[in-house]
């Protein structure tokens, strides 16, 4: 179990860093304008702020997680929950836009920057983290 | 003996005297804050008030203003 926690824990910390980087980019884009960056992050200060929060939570107690402590697991768990809420929210917004195009009867022009692709992609990449939260074997105070 | 508002998070204490009077006092009693009950302080809210405690297997939050009136004995 310890080996698995180590591997997945380190992996989710990496995703955490990616969250922070993209969060910073979104805030930067909001200030100076859209940049050419993979996954086309949205220039949105609030969304950027939230990505940074998720990233920070994912790496804040990484040591404690690797030491098999519940405190560290708590931070991973909340990071996963927030990542899921935000990721799913953007997927639903995308769906709603597609539905609206249908209602109004116009073609749907897909503009990636409005759907915060990083939030969706990182949510999916973070899914393996749920494995440790589900098992929770060997964790202690 | 000390006031509940002074008990540090993580500590357990036994209620010695419920000093909250009136309808609020009645409500606390109904929620299980009776003399002799053992409670555990869990945390203080980010802005310093209210506090969260555990008793009878559930969690309750109350302000320091009322916790001030509840006399307890810390038992570890």
């Amino acid at each position: 179990m310890h080996g698995k926690v180590r591997a997945i824990g380190a992996y989710s910390a990496l995703i955490g860093i990616a969250y922070m980087v993209y969060g910073l980019i979104e805030i930067l884009e909001w200030m100076i304008g859209t940049l050419q960056i993979p996954l086309s992050p949205s220039p949105d200060i609030f969304a950027g702020f939230i990505l940074i929060i998720i990233g920070t939570i994912l790496i804040y107690r990484i040591g404690s997680l690797l030491d098999m402590k519940y405190e560290g697991l708590s931070f991973l768990f909340v990071g996963l929950v927030l990542s899921a809420i935000i990721g799913i929210m953007y997927i639903l917004i995308m769906g709603a836009d597609a539905l609206d195009a249908l209602v109004v009867g116009e073609p749907w022009n897909f503009d990636p920057t409005t759907y915060n692709l990083p939030a969706i992609v990182l949510f999916i990449l973070l899914l393996p983290g749920w494995l440790i939260v589900r098992d929770r074997e060997g964790f202690g105070e | 003996m000390t006031r509940l508002s002074h008990v540090k998070p993580g500590k357990k204490a036994r209620i010695v005297h419920m000093g909250v009077k009136g309808p609020a006092g009645r409500r606390y009693r109904e929620m299980g804050m009776v003399r002799g009950e053992i409670i555990r302080v869990i945390r203080v809210a980010p802005l310093g008030d209210p506090i969260e405690i555990e008793l009878k297997g559930y969690h309750l939050s109350l302000r320091k203003e009322e916790a001030e009136l509840i006399i307890v004995k810390v038992i570890g």
Binding site: L73, L92, D97 | E30, L47, S61, E66
Partner: protein
Amino acid sequence: MSRGGKTRMAKIALAGNPNVGKTVIFNELTGSRQHVGNWPGVTVEKKSGKYAYRGIEIEVIDLPGTYSLSPYSIDEKVARDYIVEEKPDAVVNIVDASNIERNLYLTVQLLEAGANVVVALNMMDEAESKGMKIDIGRLSDILKVPVVPMVAVKGKGIGEMKDAIYEEITRHKEHRHMAIGYGKDVEKAIVSLEEDVERCPTLRKYRKRWVAIKLLEEDREVIGKVKDAGCVHIVKKAENIKKELGKKLDDDLETYFADKRYEFVDDALSIVLVKGKRVWTFSDMLDKVLTHKIFGIPIFLAMMWAAFQFTFAVAVPFMDAIDIFFQWLGEVSIPALNSIWITDPAIHSLVSEGIIGGLGSVLIFLPNIFLLFFVLSLMEDSGYLSRAAFVMDRAMYKIGLQGKSFVPMLLGFGCNVPAIMATRTIEDRRDRLITILVNPLMSCSARLPVYILFAGAFFVGIEGSVIFSMYFMGILLAIVMAVLLRRFLFRGKPSPLIMEMPPYRMPTLKSSAIHMWEKGSMFLKKAGTIIFLGVVIIWFLSTYPGGPGSDIETSYVATIGHLVQPIFAPLGWDWKAAIALIFGFIAKEIVVGAYGTFYGISNADEESATLRGELHNTFTPVSAYAFMAFVLIYVPCLATIGTIKSETGSWKWTLFAVAYMVSLAYMVALVITTVGHLLGFA
């Protein structure tokens, strides 16, 4: 058992603490056969439903969730009155097994009141995961009532529950003898009072032991009942006994009774309950971070932002659909009326422009309202709402409100209607009234088009800051008003915080959808009448005396506009502004449309360049800014007024709200104009 003809009828009630899954069991029992209304005379929601079982038609009443049966809050009074006065054939007491120690306090009170209790021991799975073991047979023996273990969210135990309810309502009703011993001295007093109660004929419908105990507890409701029954002497006797006992017990009797009840519960549980070791639950893990010193507040703000993002983006297709629907309805209504030989142009105009057009402009916000209810229900069902209150309480307390006021205030930025309905979670009436009264100052989404129109016309380059200043002004005024209301109208401190933090639970789509539907349709029913009347009146005023098709400048609205224009003259507004504001009573976004009509610009929206150009003829930047502030502050819309009425249950407070907001709006606009001119702006 109620009498009746062929089918047998029975009434049962669901009672229990908040957060024990009562609603889930109610839904499982009654399915879709539900009715939501209010208890007579109070603004407490009453839910009832029906189901048939083995030939009995059973009516289920969902009582408000309460921690106790003392009549000190409206919810508790409603629940208790129903149990002791209506005497339902069975009371299903839903107990959260994982929180059984506190939950059984209510059970004990129900039994004391003489209710025919069936205990639903819900959330057995959670209790098990906490390592708790409950001996259900022995619990049933001690309480002398049936106990049914359940996991209602998974549908477990529903069948057994229906059986148990059936047994209970068909059982031959002999007196059950569960009674808590209150000690020699108090028992003597109870027995002696019981004898008197028995001799008082009108009190016979109540359990005599209950009346005796309540008299000793100095329960003002029961004392009133005994007095009304013409048995004042019993009350006097009880008072004397109390005095004597008080000396002997060295404690006041109320505390004594509560202590003894909990003692009984503790004794019972020492026999039937094996507690588990303390384990880290998912709930503990979530709380570790969600109420964290550093992360607590940022996460809360992030959640609220996500709630709005979700609500407004997902509402768009539905709003467009409603818009298209009403446009189509307006178009087909005239041929439809003609086809049934109604050719009067007045009726055509009433139906297509007045009713359909007017309702369309208000109902377009339904998707927002419904989705906000949905999000709110997710927050409530998951248990996060009480964490939000916990995290924000300190800040709100400073301005005379409390933690539970914060979420309704935030929701106000979306729509004031669900925001005001969300104040139901605030138990204290005074705290709740203040929260309702200042809520409309939170700038709802419908006001945004007005800001966009005017900011785009007069503040090119700084539109963002100007619009932000509107929101900021709203928050500032809400704080000032809350402080003032607390200082002058609702003196004293906010009520003490005694809030349970229930364990987090995964909200289900089904229950959130049901919740959204109930709240949304309740809004439609309640505020609907007022909205309907409002749109018809506005249609009449803007169509007559000229009749349909006549110029709006000859209508009553114009007359009124000219009449009230002098009031607005110090603010530098013409009569058109006055009319736009009158239209704004229905809904704020109509203000933009009204301006479009005046200048004969069809399909004017807030981005329209022609409209912005026209506005320069009648407004200066200062008077435009004052106008924006006025729109922010004065009554949000008819729907909000309707909601304030239905939630406060009082015309007095509704009128007060309208009056204070209109005068505050005028004062603020006047200050802006004066200061603007003093600073040398035009």
